[in-house]
Symmetry: C2
Subunit: 205 residues, 2 copies
DNA sequence: AAGTTGTTTAACCATATGGTTAACTAATGG
DNA sequence: CCATTAGTTAACCATATGGTTAAACAACTT
């Protein structure tokens, strides 16, 4: 393989900024700390990204950018509902496992600046999950699953996947989980979540 | 009833601080804004609470304080496992509905300062959920529910209850929910969550 | 080699911020 | 009624912070 190209200042800054914004939040993050961690003069941050807010926006977009469209695509695919639940859970859990910082990042941002974050997450006229919701309605109407709204179902899935990552420090402090133990527990959830969701969709006992 | 006693400065400060800490986070919150919103001189904040951090600690303890012990009590009670799931879901959802700001508050705090928040949430030698975990193990062993660890089950419940409140702004911005519509949706979850969890505990299809 | 452009740096600046001080007023109680 | 304490205030302080500037440097063009 070719020698790793030295990362550009821009990338150094973005990586450092992402780490610092995660640890401290938007207001808690210090431009100086970002600069230090990137090994770069503070003025460079402004040279490349004008202001703290702009830098933050770029960091957010870069972090979220890739995965959301894929997720929406999965949800709107032609696949069977149950298969879809497995696919989405798997993909989502994988993605977050590779970016454990994202959930806090997003939840915090969403709550402090809903419209901006919404625009970042659900980029330009994303499909409206028409098909997924319709699919749920049909399954209910056909008596294949118990009555539930598509929204509730989606929220259930997302909750079960995302929340544990928000509670990660609790796993560590309260239950004494190491980094690896936590990862293993999350891996276990790759089966647990769709099992629970699908099992929970069966018609009443 | 007696005329509402004028709230003391201390309470005025705590209420204002709670609101501001919620909106801006620990670092984003400004002592001046807290003072203004409490209608009180800034020096008073330090008079009553020495420092920003101390004030924050008191706010957190006050907000979390009451409910956690009750929750633990429910989890460790003698009740049947399924009944317990209903009780916990109901109580927890009620409590959070009355304090919709708490989840973000805690999740954010937990991630930025795990040990302090853990100490606040799980006050002095709280029971270790021995009984609840054992109860789950027994139910699994007896073949009354599918195999699952007590921790996973607990996490499932908490996830389903708490996460939607973290995503509240998304309900509003993305799905156009009003404050009332959101409350109604959460009310619906009081049945949805235990139904899903319990249904999802049944032995495989 | 001299211009030209993009990149990097140290030194600054204006302002915001958490915290302190010293003086003043309202209670309390002996 | 006076003294001691609790409560409250405006003015102040040291520092941190986001952001700017002017000059130096590097790389490329001609």
């Amino acid at each position: 393989m070719p020698a790793q190209a030295k990362p550009t200042s821009e990338v150094l800054i973005l990586d450092a900024a992402q780490a610092v914004f995660l640890e401290r939040g938007l207001t808690g993050a210090r431009m100086q700390e970002i600069a230090d961690r990137a090994g770069i003069n503070k003025a460079m941050l402004h040279y490349y990204f004008r202001s703290k807010e702009k830098l933050f926006e770029v960091v957010v977009s870069r972090a979220i950018g890739g995965a959301m469209p894929q997720l929406f695509e999965l949800l709107e695919s032609e696949a069977d509902l149950f298969a879809k639940i497995y696919q989405v859970s798997s993909f989502y859990l994988d993605f977050i496992s590779r970016n454990t910082f994202l959930p806090l990042f997003i939840v915090d941002g969403i709550n402090r600046n809903p419209q901006f974050f919404f625009a970042s997450v659900v980029q330009t006229n994303q499909p409206r999950l028409q098909r997924f919701f319709q699919q749920v309605e049909e399954a209910v109407a056909a008596g294949r699953i118990r009555p539930i709204s598509g929204l509730q179902l989606l929220i259930n899935i997302v909750s079960l996947i995302v929340f544990p990552f928000l509670a990660k420090p609790l796993y560590q402090v309260a239950a004494g989980f190491s980094e690896e133990a936590f990862a293993a527990e999350m891996a276990r959830r790759r089966a647990e979540v769709p099992d629970l969701v699908i099992n929970g969709l069966q018609l009443g006992i």
